[in-house]
Amino acid sequence: MDHRLEWTRRHFFSRSGTGLGVAALASLLPGELQARTGGMPGIPHFAPKAKRVIYLFQSGGPSQMETFDYKPRLTEFQGTNLPESVRMGQRLTSMSASQSSFPVVPSRYSFAQHGKSGAWVSELLPHTAKVADDLCFLKAVHTEAINHDPAVTFLQTGSQVAGRPSMGSWVVYGLGAETEDLPAFVVMISPGSGGTGQPLYDRLWGNGFLPSKFQGVKFRSVGDPVLFLTDPPGFSKENRREYLDALNQMNEAAFAESGDPEVMTRIAQYEMAFRMQSSVPELTDLSKESDSVFAMYGDESRKPGSYAYNCLLARRLAERGVRFIQLYHRDWDHHANLPKGLPKMCQQTDQPTAALIADLKQRGMLDDTLVVWGGEFGRTVYCQGRLTKDDYGRDHHPRCFTIWMAGGGIKSGMTLGETDDYCYNIVSGGVHVHDVQATILHCLGVDHTRLTYRFQGRYFRLTDVHGNRIKEILA
């Protein structure tokens, strides 16, 4: 329905102006409309703390025991079989369910407390440790899925089953965009330590049953940053402008003939495409970033496609009003060879992640940007596969894992939730995936129970029929 509103507006301008091209319209729009396009009436439901989200998704399931959830007693339990009193018959994946034993394995990496908050952070994350006071750790997140596909899908869409809109799609559907020059929902993917990692799927940023204009747009490091963005070789910028002028004239004639407002919407879309042809290269042109910025994010940030580069780009996207910025870093799935794989992943992500926090903060943007870090589940305290002196692996563990949030709307320097000495079950402060989702929406000024879309006769929401905002961590 909203494009009709848009049409009316555009129609007014194009008919009342004297030969004003639609391209010029954006600058003529009243400030408020220019600031925000689309979105649902009545949303935000209340004053938002955050205008945008940067979600740093660590795909594969980082081990909480080697990163943030310090469990000193595991050293005592080392090599002993996980007691049944702890496991309590809870289900395991079929990758380890038939193991003959479940030997407990402690983190090989040491922990220390950091900052005023005294947050425990592993030695593998020295940079994150430095910004610990800006973060809010949820140490007792739990999920329902135990395999990657359902678990990532659950975190990103609120349902394990395919077909629901992703979080970013919901947010953009509800809140609309703050810029017309870039997509409102951008996705960036970086390969992990082995240059690969667990597969991802388009549905994670898909629009589900929402209109497809709400789907996440991948910014890619191979070829065009946005699919089909670049004009073909030999076709100059002038050619494109001439082309669009003629195309618009043709389409305006079609509008005069048909009276169909979709034609005017189409003209507007072609103009937005044209603007993206400038705004995206401007976005990805890092030549104006200072050396100190690159030093902050690390050398890798000069390399398109790396996690560090994507973090820097995330900041630039945030500056330009992109609503939902979703990163994926793949390869946290350490079933085996954890001591080989996990430090590499930490090394790739630690500095850029911390830099992003610090960078947003120094630019005064952390106050209205919500940053979320985490994977789809945690990992088992027991060793999967062969436990040797130097080597171990961990299977998927849905019952407790750590996610941290920072920035707009979230208290900083705090920890919520506690797991038991085995890092197996939750002792207190447990939050469900739906609670995390409800909280993200809350920071954006959205009541998760009232952001709905009717489909198949039902009012669907991101949080299904569950979820509560996590009041303890709200600033």
């Binding site: 329905m1 494009h3 009709r4 009436p41 994946t93 079929s94 990758m95 380890s96 369910a97 038939s98 193991q99 395999n147 990657h148 596909d149 089953v161 993917i189 597969p199 799927y201 388009d202 549905r203 898909g206 209109p211 497809s212 204009k213 191979v222 070829g223 065009d224 946005v226 699919l227 089909f228 963005l229 004009d231 073909p232 030999g234 076709f235 100059s236 002038e238 050619n239 001439e242 082309y243 003629a246 195309l247 043709m250 389409n251 079609a254 048909s258 009276g259 169909d260 407002p261 034609v263 189409r266 879309q269 072609y270 937005m272 495409a273 993206m276 062969r386 129970t449 198949q456 006769g457």
Partner: protein, 1007 residues
């Protein structure tokens, strides 16, 4: 403005004044605002009051209170509560975040109660009756539309211009635009039957089946990959081609239904009928390591149930998977009872990642079946030729045996495909520490390779005989053990879930020499492993059967060690073959010593193994050439046949287990929380399944297309309507329940539904009926007033104007350029796609684009990878094929603009279209541009458009003239050659304009 439009839209669908109708005016409100707590879901009903049933609504609630008192809103608790000024009492409850009912809704409820609060059965559950129409020349659809338009004070639009109409109907029925010749012919044909002739021609075109198939493929969630995380390939194109063929042959829809749901259960099913059942194997399947098999198997059963409900019943039965339906009269038990029909497939939850999962069948194309029969015959005759020499062979062998008595000792054993040997010459003892390593470079054995391990052993206890792989018990590799006194084989990718483990059911003898062998045929079935002791097959015990993942086993073969274990006892004569030795061959292995000694025995006292060994030895190059040649010919013919057979496509199909599984209600939908057992049964709210029907999928299929079923015909004609008008008569094509939309023209829906059934479910007939109506043929032009009155054209006072579907956009582009390769069916193809799309999400080799005709086939043949679907299709709102989708949606985005401006397909097509304009379009720019427009939008440009296009051409030309190198560069897109006869700058200018034509709103819109 926005609210106003919503309001107008709502008014179209509801009462004007006076009579309130429950189904149209009241049920939607009650359902949407009340049923969740006062509806069919007993577990979640918040009080005694239920409003979905008349009895419940009017029952005594105690203390003299009644939900609804007919005739008296004031005494009706419902009315009091919806109008209460006390927020704590008001319904729907404010505390649960619900808004107050609107004034209009309250007024309708008041009037309804005043009129006695009559209930009606939900409209879609009442069997359709054909509404009366006048026996005039006016099309029945038009009659019904006109009554309504008159009431609304609207007038139908005039008929669309002829070229517009031709393009509309051609796109709708074939998915492609009319050719210039077809346009000319239609414009020239002024006979009254001209349009009908066109319709008949289109319905007879093979393109019709392709056009119809695409929507069915989306509903059927058809794909070339499995979906879920690993998203490996599968082959279902034989099913896809079955669908195209069925549409083209105009298979009646009842038969179309029965064959797809239960073709395998028909008496003596044909190959075609079995292929049809692929419909319900099209769902996603998971090969993600670590999944719980039963969890996913039940997911597939649920998918079939939900898909069946959506496609045939227009019901959101899936809502009843975890609890009773909140709006419609479906219980959770109904869901699982229906699912029981689909729960008897002999299938697994954790599937094969690299091809079709069982059950599947070979599905040869007719010419393949013919060729296979030839090859079978040839192999048979070659065998016969070889067999016919038996006497000759025996004679020659007898002579050779006699010679052996005097000859030097001849040592012989099977060595074909032997890849490793360790005789352990000398000391054969292994003391629990000793290991012999070797054969590091010998070929690898993968999971689909056959192999044979053989050795002589004299065990003193448990230990490893032979291994290759990681040196711990749960490691990755091949391991042959004596374990628990038994022969044990491990063939492992990952111990816990991917590999094969078997053992001999009985212990073997300790402390004595014996020959053991293990063979495997590479079939990914543990039951195909054979364990032999002294040449005799032992009973097998399967410990783990999931050898379905490629192995990467490195390092040397290790004799006497492996899996962290060593051997105690003696070992010698170890051999590994990359071949499954036959039982007869294995039986010869324990026979040691020169064959001369066997030959020395009288023939009658030789064992079968001895006879075989002599024979094998003789045939190993010692028999007369003529015999060897015939044998070689036979094995070559057989190999050719086998190779051809392995290339014949397969398709996954439905099968019924001999003993059906017991289906349970699953509490909260959880696989590990079964409740009561249920029988296969159709939902209780729908007409019962006649006893005469079998209680299996076949019975279910027949019930779905039984004329007493109120839904199937309506739901399907409604989708045809959607396909032609862009929106269904019931907009919620997937939901005919109480939350679905009240049909904007219930009488047309019912008329068509009855017509469909009475015509014998004649799909072409029903489509023709609709496109012959004046309503369909109206011009689509809209005025601002009409737009405001009816923005979505639900009242049909004008013709449809909607954006084309993604595949139509691409297909018409290829057609206008002349690149389109029309060929019905075959394996899916991989046209241009931006590089790296698969790798960035999935790793691996990625998308291997086709060359040649695969680039230019119709889009329904484009390879569909579920987790990374083709961007051209997804950008334009195609369903992802992860689940059943029947609603057509259309958006308008900048990504679409970029795609059409810069995608290789569109740039290449523009170049070829430009060539056509220049070569076929006459001598002047004007005629060439007019020809181009006719190729794309089936009409010449208006004078105004002609002027715009000519000016654009001139500007491009001027630009490229000053930069000729760029013209050449610009023309390099795509793999088809550029016509060298044409001057590059001129061609580039035309290419720019051609690309513009393909991007016109008109080009991507059906009007």
């Amino acid at each position: 403005m926005l609210r106003l439009l919503f309001f107008v839209a709502a008014c179209i669908l509801s009462a004007l004044a006076g009579d309130v109708e429950f189904n149209r005016d009241i049920r939607p409100v009650l359902s949407d605002r009340c049923f969740a707590c006062h509806g069919p879901d007993a577990a979640n009903r918040k009080s005694k009051l239920r409003l979905d049933q008349e009895q419940g609504a009017k029952a005594d609630l105690g203390k003299g209170r009644f939900g609804i008192v007919p005739g008296s809103p004031e005494r009706s608790e419902v009315f009091k509560r919806i109008t209460s000024s006390n927020k704590a009492l008001r319904m729907p409850p404010a505390y649960a975040g619900h808004d107050k009912l609107g004034e209009r809704e309250i007024k309708l409820i008041r009037e309804w109660i005043e009129q006695g609060a009559p209930y009606q059965q939900h409209w879609s559950l009442i069997p359709p009756k054909r509404p009366p129409t006048q026996p005039t020349d006016v099309h029945p659809i038009d009659q019904m539309v006109r009554v309504r338009l008159e009431r609304e004070g609207l007038h139908p639009a005039p008929e669309a211009e002829r070229h517009t109409l031709l393009r509309r109907v051609t796109l709708d029925l074939t998915g492609l635009q009319p050719s210039p010749a077809e346009v000319d012919a239609f414009l020239a044909d002024r006979s009254p039957g001209a349009y009908e002739k066109v319709v008949d021609r289109l319905l007879a075109s093979p393109r019709f089946g392709e056009r119809m198939a695409i929507r069915w493929l989306e509903a059927a969630r058809y794909s070339d990959t499995n979906g879920y995380q690993t998203d490996g390939p599968r082959d279902m194109w034989r099913w896809r081609d079955w669908v195209i063929d069925a549409y083209n042959r105009n298979m009646p829809f009842d038969q179309f239904t029965i064959e797809q749901l239960a073709g395998d259960l028909l008496p003596h099913p044909t190959l075609s009928q079995r292929i049809a059942t692929g419909f319900h194997r099209n769902h996603r399947t998971s090969a993600e390591g670590g999944i719980v098999d039963e969890e996913f198997r039940l997911e597939y059963v649920a998918d079939r149930t939900e898909t069946t409900a959506t496609v045939w019943l227009g019901s959101t039965l899936g809502c009843a998977r975890c609890h009773d339906h909140k709006y419609d009269p479906f219980t959770q038990k109904d869901f699982y009872s229906l699912s029981a029909f689909f729960n008897n497939v002999p299938e697994k939850g954790f599937v094969y990642n690299f091809g079709n999962e069982e059950p599947f069948i070979k599905a040869p194309l007719p010419e393949q079946a013919k060729r296979l029969a030839e090859l079978d015959a040839r192999a048979a005759s070659a065998k016969q030729a070889a067999d016919s020499q038996e006497q000759l062979l025996e004679k020659a062998q007898a002579k050779w045996e006699r010679g052996l008595a005097r000859a030097k000792p001849l040592e012989w054993s099977v060595t074909t495909a032997q890849i490793f040997e360790e005789p352990v010459a000398g000391d054969t003892h292994f003391d629990g520490r000793r290991v012999i390593e070797g054969g590091k470079e010998s070929p690898k054995i993968d999971y689909r390779d056959p192999f044979t391990f053989s050795a002589w052993i004299k065990p003193q206890g448990d230990g490893a005989i032979l291994s290759r792989g990681e040196d711990y018990f749960e490691g990755h590799g091949h391991y042959l053990y004596v374990l628990n006194g038994r022969i044990r084989l491990h063939h492992v990718f990952r111990w816990t879930d991917l590999g094969m483990r078997v053992e001999s059911a009985e212990p073997i003898a300790m402390n004595q020499w014996q020959h053991i062998a293990v063979t495997y045929d590479g079939s990914m079935k543990a039951s195909h492993v054979k364990i032999y002791v002294n040449g005799e097959i032992q009973p097998l015990k399967i410990l783990f059967d999931q050898g379905i993942w490629p192995l990467d086993v490195k390092g040397p073969w290790r004799v006497g060690a492996g899996g962290g274990k060593f051997f105690n006892g003696d070992i010698r004569g170890v051999r590994v073959y990359k071949k499954e030795l036959t039982p007869a061959e294995v039986a010869t292995l324990p026979l040691e010593g020169p064959v001369n000694s066997i030959a020395a025995k009288p023939a009658a006292s030789r064992t079968q193994a001895e006879k075989d060994k002599l024979r094998f030895c003789f045939l190993d190059g010692r028999a007369p050439r003529k015999i060897l040649k015939a044998r070689a010919a036979w094995s070559a013919a057989q190999a050719e046949r086998d190779q051809y057979y392995s290339g014949i496509p397969t398709v996954m199909v439905m099968e019924e287990m001999p003993r059906p599984r017991v289906t349970h209600v699953l509490r909260r939908g959880a696989y590990d929380n079964p409740g009561e057992a249920v029988e296969a049964r159709t939902p209780a709210a729908l007409p019962p399944m006649p006893d005469s029907l079998p209680h299996n999928r076949l019975g279910l299929a027949r019930w779905l297309v039984d004329k007493s079923n109120p839904l199937t015909a309506r739901v399907n004609v409604n989708r045809y309507w959607q396909m032609l008008f862009g929106v269904g008569l019931v907009k919620t094509v997937e939901d005919f329940g109480s939350q679905g939309e009240w049909p904007v023209y219930p009488e047309i829906l019912d008329w068509l539904a009855v017509e469909y059934m009475e015509s014998g479910w004649d799909t072409k007939h029903i489509l023709k009926t609709i496109v012959m109506s004046g309503t369909y043929r109206q011009a689509s032009r809209v005025t601002p007033e009409a737009l405001q009155r009816d923005p979505e054209n639900r009242l049909l006072a004008r013709g449809p104007r909607v954006r084309l579907s993604p595949e139509m956009i691409r297909d018409q582009t290829l057609a206008s350029s002349g690149l389109l390769v029309e060929k019905v069916g075959g394996p899916s193809v991989k046209p241009y796609q931006p590089p790296g799309l698969w790798q960035e999400l999935q790793g691996g080799k990625g998308y291997e684009q086709d060359h040649g005709e695969g680039l230019y086939r119709r889009s329904l043949y484009t390879y569909w990878k579920r987790t990374v679907a083709p961007p051209m299709m997804i950008n334009f709102d195609a369903a992802t094929r992860e689940t059943c989708v029947v609603r057509e949606t259309r958006t308008n985005t900048p990504l679409q603009a970029l795609n059409l401006m810069n995608g290789v397909t569109y740039l290449e097509a523009a170049r070829k279209l430009a060539e056509r304009m220049m070569l076929e379009g006459g001598g002047s720019a004007a005629t060439r541009l007019a020809y181009g427009m006719t190729l794309v939008v089936a009409r010449p440009p208006s004078p105004k458009e002609a002027a715009i296009l000519a000016a654009a051409l001139e500007r491009f030309r001027a630009g490229f003239r000053t930069r000729p190198a760029q013209a050449v560069e610009y023309l390099k897109q795509g793999e088809s050659p550029r016509d060298g006869r044409l001057e590059p700058e001129e061609l580039a200018a035309y290419t720019g304009v051609a690309n513009l034509m393909l991007n016109l709103d008109q080009a991507v819109t059906k009007d």
